[in-house]
Symmetry: C2
Subunit: 381 residues, 2 copies
């Protein structure tokens, strides 16, 4: 049997909506389906204003511009994240300051955030790893105390909650991804959630997204011509992709429960290996959190064991993979002055973490095969 790491899931309605989008002949940004999906996200998650973007990366770039980051400013974020979190900040000339993660959730450690706040700190970017929420109440309290802005990198965390609120709605701004590897997809795509009701921020976001023009105001009849009023880029996704996404978001809960079944099966079958001397961590959803079951990981006792398991799974046709190379010790991180050894938990996690196959359409026999093979491998080790 071949078990891929990930596989695109179709709800079955995608082609129908794409056909309709073609019939409407509105294929550029902000057409009919863009309005449908942004309004759906606003209502479902309780967001003041959602603007769809060309990617999660671009949602982060917009957020960094909205935060008005400037050279000299510092932004605290985990090192255990995708490069886009840091790139967005550096595009504004600001400096990423990498904080340590916690071993239980692999999310940023509020204690380390606090240690790293200086007079130059302007923003905190918590990243909700695996769709499991950071301790947003503590982070928001810290931000309030020090007058900082909070941008949630909720790329993996669409339709997940921390306490009573959806991820992406705690901070001033939340950033979502609908990349083909996520739970809900549009091929490439994302969204920025603006939780502030400040009309100035929303207007600025519209301008940045529309190539620095006031076209959004023009389309509403508020100005007679539209022109260049600000620095901006092009962050509008084609309505064709939003038609596809609409089909996916129509099964928001269905997709989540399908993933939960796989997640719960893995947990049930594998948690007893925590005492085996092989594994020292496994995806765990804290009581405060409602996960979207984006991914399932095992943390091994050593890199050597991890690599051996990945290799053996591969030989059985199962694609299990590592995750982030820490940003601070990467080529670019070293150029920023960081070095290996700066964040020991992050480095250990990166070296010992393996992600198991988990995709919405995963069949029962596929899950069972993965677990059976893992059991065999663990017995051999």
């Amino acid at each position: 049997m071949k078990v891929p790491f990930n596989q695109v899931f179709y709800t079955g309605e995608e082609m129908e909506y794409i056909k309709d989008a073609l019939a409407r002949r509105e294929l550029t940004g902000d057409g009919f389906y863009t309005r449908q999906v942004s309004s759906l996200l606003e209502k479902k998650f309780g967001i003041n204003k959602v603007l769809m973007t060309t990617s999660g990366t671009h949602a982060l770039e917009m957020a960094a511009q909205l935060a008005d980051l400037k050279p000299g400013d510092e932004v605290i974020m985990p090192s255990f994240t995708f490069p886009s979190t840091a790139n967005a900040v550096m595009k504004q000339g600001a400096r990423p300051v990498f904080a340590e993660i916690k071993e239980d959730t692999l999310n940023i450690d509020p204690l380390d955030i606090e240690r790293k706040i200086t007079g130059k700190t302007r923003v905190i970017i918590p990243v909700h790893y695996a769709g499991i929420g950071c301790e947003m109440d503590r982070i928001m309290e810290l931000a309030k105390m020090h007058g900082l802005m909070v941008i949630e990198d909720a790329a993996q965390a669409v339709n997940a909650r921390y306490k009573d609120r959806y991820l992406g709605t705690w901070g001033d701004i939340g950033c979502y991804s609908f990349h083909g590897t996520k739970n809900y997809i549009s091929g490439e795509g994302g969204a920025i959630a603006i939780n502030s009701s400040n009309p100035i921020i929303i207007k600025k976001a519209e301008i940045i997204r529309e190539k620095g023009t006031n076209k959004a105001q023009f389309l509403r009849g508020e100005v007679e011509k539209y022109s260049w009023v600000e620095q901006g880029s092009s962050y509008l996704p084609s309505d064709l992709l939003m038609a596809f996404l609409y089909a996916q978001l129509n099964q928001l809960e269905e997709i989540k429960s399908r993933r939960r079944i796989i997640h719960d099966y893995y947990t049930e079958q594998l948690k007893n290996y925590l005492d085996s001397g092989l594994i020292r961590g496994i995806t765990t959803v804290p009581g405060d959190c409602d996960s979207n079951y984006h991914l399932f990981y095992l943390l091994f006792e050593s890199e050597k064991i991890r690599d051996a398991v990945i290799f053996k799974l591969q030989r059985s046709g199962i694609s299990a993979v590592i995750h982030y190379i820490p940003l601070h010790s990467s080529t670019m991180g070293r150029r920023l002055g960081y070095k290996a050894g700066d964040l020991p938990i992050t480095e250990k996690v990166s070296n010992c973490l393996m992600r198991l196959p988990l995709y919405t359409g995963m069949k029962k026999e596929e899950m069972e095969y993965v677990v059976a093979k893992l059991r065999e491998i663990f017995k051999e080790l």
Copy 2:
């Protein structure tokens, strides 16, 4: 009769390719159809390396990063262009220096480029207005003489030539757009043409496009893991959009000749008004150029006449529109220190230019209706 300004044209194969893309389950960037369209563009236009992008704007942003523009650098470009040309340069902290256009083609004037070259000039960005080429031989000569890089903003100029070479292939880099309003479309989308065969530039382009990671090298098996090596963004279009574009590019010449018919009809029917005292300019393709017939404009003797004609056409159900508000005299241009009066030809053109409806699927009776109504209006004026 209602005649829109623009309308999406389908070749008829779009749904077939989209269905196939869905079946391939590669909906993120750089899938099967991305490879098809980039290879088609490379072969057809004779480009060393084409990388598809999320928009023409993003192709320009990539080009500005590849030029390694820095604060203090100056970039010469027309003011009569879309804000993306200038935004791309400003994202790097460099300064747009606006040059005057020529009245015959509305393209940048090489004489004014020469006047505006200083010790700080690093790049020239000619913009091929209406799909009609700038004087690329003279511009390349100027660039060579002063050691400058040339980035062609060929957003409107896919499948058009200046002398013996396609637009976008004269400069070091060319930028194309496949936005829904262009001749060949993918909803939102673009491409960067790298004419240099320097492997360092191509590798850097791949990294910038892939969120600052060396994933392209990883996928080719050149490195074992991919990680953060450079500043970058996410410029990969979904393969779904590239499947759509493939259908369009398969009719590259067919689409061009359909547009040529409309263009030639307008020219034939309207050129005699040049002596009427109403019109002082009309889209003209110089002998050196092969146009792609992207748009058709009339330049009126005054803004008052232009506005009256637009208003009267509108009342007859015909949507004719103005074009660029000059960048130098816009809100953002004034913030850069420019003012109204700095570029008189540009300002006059902007005030007096009207674009007529022109779209690939335009029917004979629609063209005839536009011309008939124009004749009536001209008689009344």
